[in-house]
């Protein structure tokens, strides 16, 4: 806890001092990256995303942006204009690490500074680069080089232990002591600065005390023993007067609350996730801004809307606390679906949403999104159906819109197509109530929404395969092909959400989004498990105007067959097909191989073959052989910076563009709890969106370092690679490792991907 009063200077001060030194470094860094790339033959000359930002020369924020390689967020900075300045910048910074902070108002001031600190700490990749070169304690040295006082805290932490786990801890540790300082001195100031939210602050401090206790437990539990001292530190300070503010130390708190209080949103993504709606009681903070930050919409009475969001429905304290809402409503404002709460009780709210949409529509325009502080309201209009997402999860507009599109696809798949006259019903009677048509579909929607925070398929628009030996998958493919030739449009064999094999009739190809919606529908509808069934279904990407019939049968708990046909009287034929398929699968042991693969899991970063040269003459070990060897043999451990794979590799996703498929490594330590996995997923999501940003992109490579990870993204014509490393990972080594990952994936591609169904492809 060596931080002095300097560390309490406002974020602004920091922001405007620092860049003076950093721009040259930044650009140099970009060049360096380029050089590295060239030397590796990794990429052609495209600079990392960072470059354009430097060009913009937005002072102050420069460093931060550079870190994150992200421009849009900062420049949009809506509330900054409103005079909350310092906090605002901070707000976004923090967003990077803690996507789901619940107490936004207080959090803004306090945390922001904190994270800004982080950013600065990590902001000069230049230095870190040197550092890693110097050795493990390099980080420390680097901080001193810069001669900035704030980072003393790191010394003890780094000194204590250098392995991966600890480093992660260190990233956190860095922040928390800081915040204690703040809570005593600058805390009240923050409150004064935002008088209109004063009440909210108080509200938090009361509800928060409980959380804090929990958070300590949680934060420390997964980390190494050496962190206990740090926990104690934190505990003692919790007695300080401004405990409420301290509490707001977003990241860890937010996650920590989860296990203790099963009502929080994030719980829905924990392993114990239960489909369906949940109702909870908790204190609530919902930020209200007087004005819509988007000046175009200032003519709206934003305050009223927010009051509606935040205060009106008093039965729904818990409802308002939710971080991510999804609504489906009719163009007359009738609620159709809401992720949380009772649709009927939300009629007033739903009408408000409709009012926003039609207000803009009347002006001959279409509203895409509205931002209110940390909250973003995203709209999607599909004929008479409106879809709205309200979220404070810091996900980008593009990501949220994509999610709304998928929800609409699910609505279309299950409901609209069965009642084609829905549009006519709406025309005839604008007040037509569509809710009864959705009966029993809650689980399907909640499972899809849940998938938005864990399933890369929702982001990448690609599917993933269950790893299988090539001949095994071939055997499955052969019998499916046989069946497809007899009048089945698609024959799909899946294990949970992974494809075992998939065959389409001539010229028919299945869009990955359709597969996602289909498997989500089947997996979340329990009745399919009971017996074979025959249901009408629509594949919106295949043909949104027609429906198919799906024969669904489970071979065992996880493995199921879907046969799709256009013919409504094909049931008995499909049943016969299934019997034939089942016999072949049993005979050729496919089903038992599938079970084994489920148990064994997929690629593990620890198993990444270590080769001295990036272009090995020999084949990397095969997937099958990998399973036989013990996990992470000695030789790999030496190469590991910490826990995880070589060079601090924690996780990766590789998407093959031609195949429409991706492969994702298994989560392993230190990404072993669901909130960490969700956080990484969100980070990937940001990365994905920034890489595909139509305004500034497309980009080819991006290297981003923050307090949680080093993220590296590499996009070529053939594939996209997203990799997460230890935050202290060395850049050159990380790039090298990415090359190895790609090589590895190529080496085992016939086991992890479904290659062309034609036997000639191999």
């Amino acid at each position: 806890m060596a931080s002095d009063s300097d560390s309490l200077t406002s974020t602004d001060d920091f922001a405007y001092q620092n860049p003076k030194a950093s721009p040259p470094e930044t650009s140099q860094d970009g060049l360096k990256f380029l050089t590295l790339n060239e030397s590796e033959n990794v990429v052609d000359g495209e600079l990392a995303l960072n470059q354009p930002v430097v060009g913009e020369g937005v002072n102050g924020q420069l460093v931060v942006e550079h870190d994150r390689g992200e421009c849009e967020l900062e420049t949009e900075e809506p509330v900054a204009g409103e005079g909350v300045n310092g906090q605002l910048v901070a707000d976004h910074d923090r967003g990077e690490g803690e996507p789901e902070i619940e107490e936004p108002v207080v959090g803004e001031g306090v945390n922001g500074q904190l994270v800004a600190e982080h950013d600065r700490g990590e902001g000069e990749p230049e230095i870190e680069e040197q550092v890693v070169g110097e050795g493990v304690n390099g980080q420390l040295v680097a901080e001193h080089d810069r001669g900035e006082g704030e980072h003393e805290i790191e010394e003890p932490v780094v000194g204590e232990d250098v392995n991966g786990q600890l480093v992660a801890e260190h990233a956190r540790g860095e922040g928390e002591p800081e915040i204690e300082e703040q809570s005593s001195s600058s805390g009240p100031a923050a409150m004064a600065a935002v008088p209109e939210v004063g009440e909210v602050v108080r509200e938090i401090s009361s509800s928060v005390v409980v959380h804090r206790v929990n958070s300590e437990l949680e934060v420390d539990a997964p980390s190494s023993p050496s962190s206990s001292g740090y926990a104690g530190e934190r505990g003692s300070s919790s007695d300080s007067s401004a405990s409420g503010i301290e509490e707001v130390n977003g990241d860890d708190i937010d996650e920590a609350v989860i296990p203790a209080d099963h009502s929080v949103d994030a719980v829905s993504d924990s392993p114990s996730w239960v489909p369906g709606k949940r109702h909870i009681n908790e204190t609530l903070v919902y930020p209200c801004k007087d004005k819509c930050p988007n000046s175009e919409h200032n003519s709206l009475n934003w305050f009223t809307i927010c009051r509606c969001l935040g205060n009106k429905d008093d039965a729904s304290i818990s409802w308002r606390k939710r971080k991510k809402h999804f609504f489906v409503l009719s163009n007359s404002g009738k609620p159709i679906y809401s992720r949380y709460g009772d649709e009927y009780k939300l009629a007033g709210f739903s009408a408000t949403l409709q009012a926003i949409i039609s207000f803009v529509e009347n002006g001959g325009d279409q509203v895409k999104f509205v931002r209110a502080g940390k909250h973003q309201v995203v709209f999607l209009v599909k004929g008479p159906i409106y879809l709205v997402c309200i979220s404070c999860t810091e996900e980008s507009y593009e990501a949220l819109r994509g999610q709304l599109e998928l929800i609409y696809g699910q609505v279309a798949q299950m409901i609209l197509i069965l009642t084609k006259s829905v549009n006519r019903c709406f025309e005839k009677n604008p007040k037509y109530d569509m809710t009864p048509l959705l009966g029993g579909t809650d689980v399907v929607f909640s499972s899809l929404i849940h998938a938005f925070s864990w399933n890369p398929a929702t982001l990448l628009h690609a599917y993933t395969c269950l790893p299988l030996a090539y001949p095994t998958r071939q055997a499955a493919g052969a019998i499916l092909q046989d069946v497809a030739d007899s009048g089945v449009l698609f024959a799909i064999l899946m294990c949970r959400h992974k494809v075992v094999s998939l065959v389409g009739a001539q010229k028919a190809s299945l869009h990955p989004d359709d597969m996602l919606l289909l498997s989500n529908f089947v997996l979340s509808s329990e009745s399919f498990r009971t017996s074979e069934s025959f249901s009408p279904i629509c594949l919106p990407r295949y043909n949104p105007m027609a429906f198919l019939y799906a024969y669904v049968h489970y071979f065992d708990v996880d493995t199921y067959l879907m046969l799709l046909t256009t013919s409504s009287d094909a049931f008995y034929h499909l049943k016969d097909c299934r019997i034939r398929i089942e016999m072949v699968l049993l005979k050729s042991n496919v089903l038992s191989e599938v079970q084994r693969s489920m148990l064994d899991g997929g690629l593990r970063v620890e198993d990444l073959p270590v080769d001295p040269s990036p272009r090995p003459g020999s084949l990397s070990p095969h997937l099958g052989q990998d399973r036989l060897t013990t996990e992470s043999p000695e030789i790999f451990k030496e190469a590991c910076l910490g826990i995880g794979g070589p060079a601090g590799l924690w996780h990766f996703i590789y998407r093959s563009i031609y195949l429409d498929q991706y492969v994702s490594s298994e989560f392993s330590s230190p990404l072993n709890n669901s909130s960490q996995q969700k956080r990484l997923y969100r980070a990937y999501q940001k990365l994905y969106v920034s890489m595909h940003d139509k305004g500034t992109g497309p980009h080819k490579t991006q290297f981003r370092r923050d307090e949680n990870y080093v993220l590296l993204c590499w996009v070529t014509q053939d594939f996209e690679l997203y990799a997460a490393f230890d935050p202290l990972a060395d850049k050159a080594l990380a790039i090298k490792t990415c090359n190895r990952v790609c090589q590895w994936v190529r080496d085992v591609e016939n086991e992890i991907f479904l290659l062309g169904a034609s036997p000639f492809s191999w």
């Binding site: 069965l418 084609k420 019903c425 009966g439 074979e532 009408p536 049943k575």
Partner: protein
Amino acid sequence: MGCSSSLPESTSSGRLDGFSSENVEATDSKNLRVKLVLLGDSGVGKSCIVLRFVRGQFDPSSKVTVGASFLSQTVALQDSTTVKFEIWDTAGQERYAALAPLYYRGAAVAVVVYDITNPQSFNKAQYWVKELQKHGSPDIVLALVGNKADLQEKREVSIEDGMNHAEKNGMFFIETSAKTADNINQLFEEIAKRLPRAPSS
């Protein structure tokens, strides 16, 4: 019924029976194979009745049926004949109402189920009876079933109401409990007895 009055195009030609014009198919003189469809509001216990009959199980956790599930079970009668029921357990949800013809077309037996604790489901049952009389096979065997008979204290539809309605429409009536297995086998045995027998050749 909202939108359900208009049928999706393909259902008009849809046939699931896979049989010839005979709804009751005799595989030989002693063994019959019949298509049976269950209809009724959602949540009345159609799937529970079927699962009790076919597998002898009862799962209190409600699983919403999607589209329709297919199960089969053979009943041996005292006259040493057997009847194989091919059962279509349809989804009770409103959105599938338009697709019901797909499942009941060509059925030899239709079992219309309601929940004795829920008068609305009884109304819905009456709707289905009408629909079947209009569009079902002319010689279809109709059964009206009041399920959840174990919940006597919550009863809202009297036995008399059920019986009257069945009588008026020439239906066979029974109250069952899938939970306690009460009358489940009786229901299917009674149906089997009432099936028109193909003249033995």
